[in-house]
């Protein structure tokens, strides 16, 4: 689901935390996000990642499945950092 132009996307707390970690690290693996955010259940990361990717806020390399999400790589574009920081 893409965000309407001019409308700031609404994110839940887990998604905000995941986005914060991706912004801090520029490029980071799912497993590292889980470790940094103390997320023990991959389902939590999967839900947050799908929410962020669905709104085209992050770039994802890899599969967004429960088993493979720790292996996926997440990143943000430098030109969007300022905007994304406003969302967290």
């Amino acid at each position: 689901m893409a965000t309407n132009p001019g409308q700031a996307p609404q994110l839940d707390e887990a998604a905000k935390l995941v986005l914060q970690i991706i912004l801090d690290n520029t490029i980071v693996r799912g497993a590292n996000i889980m470790s940094l955010a103390s997320i023990s259940d991959p389902k939590v990361l999967l839900k947050a990642a799908k929410e962020l990717a669905g709104q085209k806020l992050i770039e994802v390399n890899g599969e967004l499945t429960e088993e493979r999400v720790p292996l996926a790589t997440f990143s943000t574009l430098p030109s969007r950092k300022f905007y994304l920081r406003e969302l967290t």
Binding site: R29, A31, N32, S35, S40, D41, E59, P70
Partner: protein
């Protein structure tokens, strides 16, 4: 900031300051934009971006000097541009403004930074996948390695019975004759779960789950880093060799540089004074540089767009270069060629200098030559005749 109060220093130093500060800001930009990427400085594309970031202030400094917004001998301008080129290019700086088309160059530059980030992210993801596959293959290849992995995974599992059930399910569904396939599938299940543990590769190495070779070469990427360091060492060696090669001709490089400064359109008086001092010193110190500088200065005098004060300066320098024990025999020869200058004013000045030079050398006057006054409407043939007469005059005379 009023840049007019800035100390006026040699342009070499100013460009040096811009380069060093630009490199520092560039490194900060890379860290800010790509800083979270492990081993970012081992990525080729990051270096391209860094070089681009470093080159931008140098080009901007040169461009602003060309447009007359600053002089390239202004220390304050060098520092301001080196540190704040991003603000200047984006039009946020009050002290310096760039022409509109230049500031629009910044947007595609930022887009390039995004492209590099995306490429680095893709490369990082590919590297990680290769690493994962290598580690999984290594673990699944030996039953004892797999057993150690399984023990570790089960000890860290949140829901141990559920995980054990899934492992049993894989084992039950596998071909009994193909144990390796079952181990591979179970390893693929367990491996992502363990990645959550910080420094998992160290832990797997210590527990014998992966070999030392896989740990150092694949997980720690020693081969890749050593390859990158090898490239850096080769580049440094090339730099040192280049400097070594250029060192003997440093005076020639300096001469070319100071002749350029002398003729530069918007240089400051102080800069021209510096250039004059250095050229005099170079011409008096090194006979080969003296000959070369004499030719270059005479060529400079003939340059169509050269202001008369620079013509005067070049002619004064040519006369000054004779003040060495063995003189400068090239001066009259090169000055005669400078009579071919397009401007009649320049030809007139050169004619006066040639007469003065003959007087300084205590040579007899030639009435025909001494009475000649270059004119605007002088025919090419007549001018050529005068040049030949001057050549004949100086032929065989030492001065």
């Amino acid at each position: 900031m009023d840049l007019g109060v800035s100390p006026d220093i040699d342009a070499v130093w100013c460009y040096g300051f811009v380069s060093v500060l630009g490199a520092w800001v560039g490194a900060r930009q890379i860290r800010g934009r790509l800083g979270g990427i492990k081993g970012i400085w081992f990525q080729r594309r990051a270096w391209f971006l860094f070089i681009a970031y470093t080159a931008v202030p140098i080009v901007l400094f040169w461009l602003l000097d060309r447009t007359g917004a600053v002089t390239d001998t202004s220390l304050f301008a060098a520092v301001l541009i080196g540190l704040g080129y991003e603000r200047i290019l984006s039009g946020q700086d009050d002290a310096l403004r760039v022409p509109g088309p230049v500031s629009s160059f910044w947007t595609p530059f930022l887009a390039y930074a995004d492209t590099v980030t995306r490429a680095v992210a893709d490369q990082t993801a590919r590297d990680q996948t290769r690493l994962d596959e290598e580690l999984i293959a290594t673990i699944a290849a030996k039953p004892e390695r797999y057993a150690a992995l399984e023990a570790l995974a089960l000890s860290r599992a949140l829901d141990r019975p559920a995980l054990q059930a899934r492992l049993d399910q894989i084992a039950a569904g596998a071909n009994p004759a193909d144990e390796a396939d079952a181990r591979d599938r179970k390893t693929r299940l367990l491996y992502p779960l363990l990645l959550v543990i910080p420094d998992i590769n160290d832990l797997m190495y210590r527990r014998g789950i992966i070999t030392g070779w896989v740990y150092w070469v694949w997980a720690r990427r020693v081969n890749r880093y050593s390859r990158s360091l090898g490239v850096v060492a080769i580049l440094l060696a090339a730099l040192v060799a280049g400097a070594w090669e250029l060192y003997p001709s440093r005076n020639v490089v300096a001469e070319t540089y100071y002749v350029w400064r002398l003729g530069k359109a918007n240089s400051t008086e102080l800069d021209r004074f510096r250039a004059r001092l250095h050229l005099v010193w170079l011409m008096q110190d090194d006979p080969s540089v003296r000959t070369r500088a004499t030719e270059d200065l005479a060529r400079l005098v003939r340059r169509p767009d050269l202001a008369m004060d620079r013509v005067e300066l070049a002619l004064q320098l040519l006369l000054e270069s004779r003040e060495v024990p063995d003189g400068n025999t090239e001066v009259p020869k090169q000055l005669v060629q400078a009579l071919r200058a397009g401007s009649v004013d320049v030809r007139d000045h050169v004619q006066q200098v040639l007469k003065s030079l003959a007087g300084l050398c205590k040579l007899p006057a030639d009435d025909a030559l001494w009475q000649w006054k270059p004119a605007e409407d002088e025919a090419t043939g007549q001018l050529e005749t005068r040049i030949q007469q001057w050549e004949a005059y100086w032929n065989g005379k030492t001065c």
